[in-house]
Subunit: 244 residues, 4 copies
């Protein structure tokens, strides 16, 4: 079996595994599960983790040159190592759908807007869960409810950073750093999309000064071919080759 | 009656309704109205809300395919649901005016600067009002005067976020999140407009290296047509077609 | 006398007036002048203000259509009204020098970097002075030394906003809002300049796929003219005109 | 010996000197060295400083026109003056490697991503060390451990700025300002790279409307040369020259 075939087979199971992870993790953290229910939730989370780890190992086995595959899939290893990053699989799925729609201008920008908003929403939700999980009960911590954690995630991803809530534990700070990087990328995506729009709009209404298009040049090329066909054949093949 | 006709008829009434909403809401919040005056203000605000809700329903009725219209006008539903978003109608009006001016380079950038500044001003004003309305009197709240609320809105929309003032209520935080998103978009618009300017300037003064224009290529095409007209007619039509 | 001539005559006096304003205002605020020295400093500042106000009035008188001139020079009125904005005259001077150097790519980006850094430095210096002037001695204020004010200005213009220092007076907040807007513009200019560089670099090394240049198309056009000259003259002038 | 030759000879020694500086400085600050070990560390740091100062002086001597070289290498003087900036030599080295890879689109963006991430990592590490060195033990300081310093550096470079940690000493604030400038540049680089990607994607799938390429125009040019070779020679050389 090839790696490509394996990826097609595991596409839906891994997507469902990501969704199960989000749902069970949300339930565990928001309800602050204790005792048996906590254990059940952790078992489910462990199973989703095992599904990702197994997928990683199988794909490593199936790869033609394992050393190269390993170097090219560092990010996949990170996802296996850090369970918090697992729902980024959902984003990856979105990216796959996205790549099917290589369309121009407005359509691309709509796609970016939709997927960007989706990515931001998943990132904020997961970061809030992970932050609350890490901080709740820690000495000196101020993020104690899920509402506060979501509010903190919004304040962080937009780089506003009031400082009314902030992480104090090592894990909480790692989550925060990942979220801040997401925030910088988010601002970048918004700006880049708007810049693309402004540049396209700035080009409207000055057709004569616009770059000549490939279509236009092909028309010209056809006209020249037409003239060429109506002329007498070249006097000597060698001369013509020299002229080139 | 078509939806287009309805939109033309309701353009000015809805614009005036938006302005009435801003004025009455500002008066209610800044003056901290109580008793009868508060009731009068709320009735006016309710009337502006009803005008927007009625407009939404009538347009839904007039639509050719209601399911599609509903999907394409989610934002309009949001405006009806969240009264705070209502003055964004003013921005929409500005956008309509804007679309009439599809002009190149500098003119586009001036338009973006003017409408961007207008949108930011409306957003800051409304957010400050809504924030003060939500926070005033809440336990632990620190935004207690309109001056502080406006200052907070500026600190938030520019993503500075000192943390001297911040919302503590759920509604106040929702308003803050909308304002932060506005701030990210604002930074994006400023950057995109500047980028468009820098890219245009960078192209000045190296005419030979610039992309060939459509005007230039059209001139070349005319010259070739001219040559074509001076040549003998094609020897055989089929051959010419093959050459193409 | 035309407005153009007046502007040439007053270019250096107004530039010197701006520099005197910065020096005297810096001396007054940093040394926290009292008594006679304070009065002397204020008289100098008043004189620089009068020079700007007089310049504004004379130019309004000299304008061909005063109503139009007034609408087009709202910013100049702002500078006269808000003494704090006066040193922006220096930036304006820089902009004038800048417009002489309409050069491509790297040169433009160097200019933007130099003028951007200059503008940021002037903005930070003046904002720190104005902030200290407004806040010092106010009840509850925490910006009490010039060092703290400069630090606060850096934290604000980069939109970091720790919140260790923040303005509490109305004037101090107006200065802060202007500085924040400067910060958003600064981030925008940095990004736009970098974007221009990245886009130019991304185009290097794929010459064949690059847009055809005007120089290239001019060469092609000359070749066609050459062919045209070697062909027999058009059979009938009218036919040729039709072909076009 | 030319300056070019000197730079080739000193490339590796200075790179190693930068790495020694980072390692020894990290060891001194993180372990909070005292007594003899502190002296040993400082001697090593002094030696790396001397290697940079000597390199600067030798290159100044070797320069053809020293005044011009001095003006063009202000940044190198800064690096000698501020030891904290020394590891930026590493970035310079990365930039040298980078310039060898003038490749298009995706490859350029990968390079920028890798070098940008490398630069950000070095900047955060060095800033955290310098900050801790400056702040530890200062009255009123709140950055007391290396973990807190790294966290502070992340919060600062992303311009989030919670305000839970902030510098209070003059040196600490200078380090912070440099880091903030790095943060603004970082956001700019991320955005610019994303903008380049969006603009390239927006162009896919509308080939006919794309700017005509140089390759296309060269093909057309060759066809015209071909026709030219098959036509009778120009009737008179002078006429042909005029036609051009």
């Amino acid at each position: 079996m090839t790696e490509e075939r394996w990826r097609q087979l595991t596409y839906w199971p891994l997507l469902i595994s990501s969704i199960v992870f989000i749902l069970v993790y949300s339930w565990q953290v928001i309800a602050d599960l204790q005792g048996t229910l906590y254990l059940i939730a952790r078992v489910f989370i462990l199973l989703t983790w095992l599904s990702f780890a197994a997928d990683y190992l199988v794909r490593l086995m199936l790869a033609d040159t394992r050393g190269r595959w390993f170097r090219e899939h560092i990010f996949d290893l990170l996802v296996v190592a850090l369970p918090v990053l697992k729902p980024l699989r959902l984003l990856k799925a979105l990216t796959l759908i996205h790549s099917l729609r290589r369309t121009a201008g407005t359509a691309l920008r709509s796609s970016i807007a939709i997927y960007g908003a989706g990515a931001a929403a998943i990132l904020i939700w997961i970061a809030a869960l992970a932050e609350l999980d890490a901080e709740r009960g820690a000495p000196g911590a101020n993020i104690e409810t899920f509402g506060d954690a979501v509010w903190w995630a919004f304040v962080t991803i937009t780089t506003v950073g009031y400082g009314d809530y902030f992480p104090v534990t090592a894990w909480g700070r790692i989550v925060a750093v990942l979220l801040m990087c997401g925030g910088v990328a988010l601002v970048g995506v918004v700006t880049a999309t708007l810049a693309s729009w402004v540049l396209e709009r700035a080009a409207i209404g000055r057709d004569t000064d616009e770059p000549a298009t490939r279509g236009q040049l092909r028309d010209v090329s056809h006209k020249i071919d037409d003239i060429s066909a109506r002329l007498p054949p070249p006097p000597a093949p060698k001369e013509s080759a020299d002229a080139r």
